[in-house]
Symmetry: C2
Subunit: 516 residues, 2 copies
């Protein structure tokens, strides 16, 4: 029976007062400007324009219900959920099998039609929606679980399975997905793989490059690449799956995934802490690695302004008073008595040395969910502010929070809110700069400065969100010329006509001179 | 203070009687046949033959002590340690910096000289020695540690660092390498990365594809690919490091590695168990995942004949009586009281249900080392028997041991010994068929049958050893035609003259028709 952890120091309070909230409704009252108008420097390449004979082919292949051409129906597939990008495709295709994906891609390749593969469309860099009129290949109907080896913990499924559905399926069998992210209710495993999604527990369970055992993908000209190995070890030549993990659908379309699933923890505990400085966050993180060792499953940092978007806009209730910073520290283990003992020992130490000012800890599922909501729904909360310039950076730990005060100086009153939160355990900060509406002037105050700053510190200009459409001009801040040359060469041989997810991932100068 | 774990059941015995052994000397009295003579079907491609002007260039670059041309001195670099392959290179180069590697490769590329990169030369598939007269590029002098971030646990070092040296360096700083293997005293981290080495604790700490954060490599024509990122998350286009992890030096030479290092466990416990059937091994493995959860760090299976090579040839002493099968189960944790409790509970259960017949458990370092030697020195012990046909297969768990009885039937009296052991936690079996001396007749009884069998079960014909020279004819048993096409295309654009580690990794038909 789970219960609330009683902490040993008097300043610790038992969690009791967080009330559950209903999901808030996001207003989509204003449509974002078309991407082609917002970014007039990006020119449509000479792909074919979709015509009735193309649509006839698709209709014959998929039937009329899995071909969407109605402008209103297409809108949701054309627009990304943070209202930053919008294409104007008039053709959405919803295959149900690898064979159908092959037929679609072969046809598009032969007819020089550009294709935008789309999973749950939860991306944050414009990678999952068309830039112009690319055919949208929605994977949402490829959502079958193929097999599960319960002893070894190996799941094989189609690419369109929603992450949360997979996790629920596994939970009934004492297993779990090795990744978890805020968008889990919508994002699809194929999209997760294509973008190498990181998420909340990478610290403990590792990245997809380590957890994806195999995958099946379809080449731009419609051939199946079967690397759907369910083996933990397989050193037989090039590890081709890595050509598809994190390449954002630019080299092939992921159709099936085989993934390693760890046992579901028998004990989960969550602490929510209030701190007065970023320095103390670093201290507490270091201590948590040492004291919690193998049971530490997540270590997140949130600043006051980030928390405020969930308490103000989404009406979530924080169980703590106001502090400049907060941390979520979660443990996953196999023996609750042992885990509570470790957690209490750790919490006692960080309270005693003054690095934590207040906190609560619980292992009651509904209360843990309420706390996690405070962290996971920040992105959603921000949508209520207006337009958000979002950045997802990896920085050396000591510089994790440095950009927030710098950006406050640079952008000043133009911003409604500037805040930082993220995965301190992975050195991955999410920086949000919120303005009333999109403004090139503000954008120019932020970019390219923010990338130059990150590059100087040998950070990454995109820790987990990818390059997509919106960061293609900045790849060189994280990749050397030689690396960009190799990237481009591989794109050229794997997609010589450049039909897959064009205008994305690769630097424009390279993209257009080499393919298309 | 570490102590011996007292088990709760009377049949458990305290470990006390394993005596340390000194390292045995391996006899190299007979040199293996030259590879070119043993495999007459493999023809030397039209690379240049090394001449005095080439040697002059190398001497000017490296000085006379880092250029080896003496035939006897070259012998150790030409021969692999299991005495299965021998090349006849007359030129070994020992660069000390990335710049020197660049100069060497550029020169070889311009002069059409083939190159065999070499780490610790502990490979088991002939990948680390020349087939003919390829220039040997020994990385052993590039052995400097560049930096260590102790808070984040991130090590950056040169490729020639010996794995054990790195582990010792980290141990003093409460960290550890995420991989460990029998050859750790000789193998180099660059070679580990190039072969995607798995080893004894992959089950717990994951594979190199997940643990290598970044690397630096040199292209065949001498350009530096700087992907030496020290970031846990970096989604900025293609993840180029994966072109070098596990591709056995065929696309570039790894010169520097940045790797994630977990905290050194505060508590380590090891159990050595005797069992009467393979079915019970599976039962105990499943139970260990469930009962030991997050602290399980290794789960190994050994059959009686495998153990015998270490007790008979290396005079190691087993702490248990004779059983048909043995298991090693190790835990890594942060609290010894908790870990002992979990281990005792687990051991109690598997004794009680009869799946384990006898066993010992200890956390005394010297005694743990003695037990690990019984497992880690099997390969070495086998060298005393004669010639070993070694196979390294991934198979579905239920078929893990099935090839041992099948091979006993097929090879019969021609073999001195046929045995299986390996990483049950990873589904990776090492099968050894020992004969007095190499025999094509025996080889034909084994191959291609063993690969066909593995392929039918959707296993891997090389779980962790790689393809090297000796498995190139069998790649198609684990890779589809489409996958082989992509592999070959990538090799063609990344090494158009095919100078890097030729005659290896790629299927011969593809290799020679496309490059060289």
């Amino acid at each position: 029976m789970l219960s609330t952890v009683r902490c040993r120091l008097s300043s610790w309070r038992l969690l009791s007062s967080i009330s559950s909230t209903t999901s808030s409704t996001i207003k989509y009252s204003t449509l974002p400007e078309l991407t082609k108008d917002r970014y007039p420097n990006v020119r449509r390449s000479d792909y074919s324009i979709i015509k009735s004979n193309h649509l006839e082919f698709f209709k014959d292949l998929l039937g009329e219900h899995r071909l969407i051409t109605d402008e209103n129906e297409c809108l949701a597939y054309n627009t990304d959920w943070i209202k930053a990008n919008r294409g104007y495709s008039s053709c959405v295709l919803k295959p149900k099998s690898t064979e159908e994906v092959c037929s679609i891609l072969k046809f598009c390749y032969d007819n020089n039609l550009a294709v935008c593969p789309q999973g749950g469309n939860t991306g944050l860099v414009g990678g999952s929606v068309p830039v112009f009129d690319e055919v949208i290949l929605s994977m949402s109907l490829m959502n079958k679980i193929i097999s599960l080896d319960e002893t070894a913990g190996i799941l094989t499924c189609e690419a369109g399975c929603v992450l949360e559905n997979l996790d629920n399926y596994l939970a009934e069998r004492e297993l779990m997905m090795p990744l978890d992210l805020g968008a889990k209710g919508s994002c699809q495993i194929g999209g997760n793989v294509a973008t190498n999604a990181g998420g909340l527990r990478l610290l403990r369970y590792g990245n997809l490059q380590g957890n994806v055992l195999g995958l099946e993908a379809v080449t731009p000209n419609g051939r199946v690449v079967d690397c759907l190995s369910a083996l933990k070890k397989d050193n037989t030549g090039l590890h081709l799956k890595h050509l598809y993990i994190g390449t954002e659908g630019s080299l092939g379309v992921v159709t099936k995934v085989c993934i390693k699933c760890p046992p579901k923890p028998k004990a989960v505990n969550l602490a929510f802490l209030g701190l007065n400085s970023f320095e103390n966050i670093l201290k507490v993180f270091k201590k948590s690695r040492h004291e919690l060792g193998e049971i530490l499953s997540s270590c997140e940092a949130i600043d006051a302004d980030s928390l405020a978007v969930t308490t103000e806009h989404l009406k979530l209730k924080s169980p703590l008073d106001k502090f400049p910073f907060y941390m979520l520290i979660e443990t996953h283990g196999s023996d609750n008595t042992h885990d509570e003992e470790k957690l209490n020992r750790f919490l006692g130490k960080v309270m005693e040395d003054g690095s934590v000012l207040d906190g609560i800890a619980t292992n009651e599922p509904s209360k843990m969910k309420d706390i996690w909501d405070l962290r996971e729904r920040i992105t959603e909360g921000y949508l209520h502010d207006g337009y958000v310039f979002k950045y997802d950076l990896s920085l050396p730990l000591e510089h994790f929070y440095s950009l927030v005060p710098i950006m406050k100086d640079r952008v000043g009153r133009d911003a409604i809110r500037i805040s930082g939160y993220g995965h301190i355990g992975d050195g991955n900060v999410h920086l949000s700069i919120c303005v009333k509406e999109f403004s090139t002037e503000v954008l120019n105050k932020i970019e390219p400065f923010i990338y130059e700053y990150t590059s100087k510190l040998k950070g990454s200009i995109s820790a987990e969100h990818g390059i997509g459409f919106r960061k293609t001009n900045y790849v060189h801040y994280s990749k050397s010329q030689e690396a960009i040359d190799i990237m481009t060469n591989i794109k050229c041989i794997m997609d010589p006509k450049g039909i897959l997810n064009p205008y994305k991932v690769y630097p424009p100068s390279r993209r257009w001179s080499n393919f298309k």
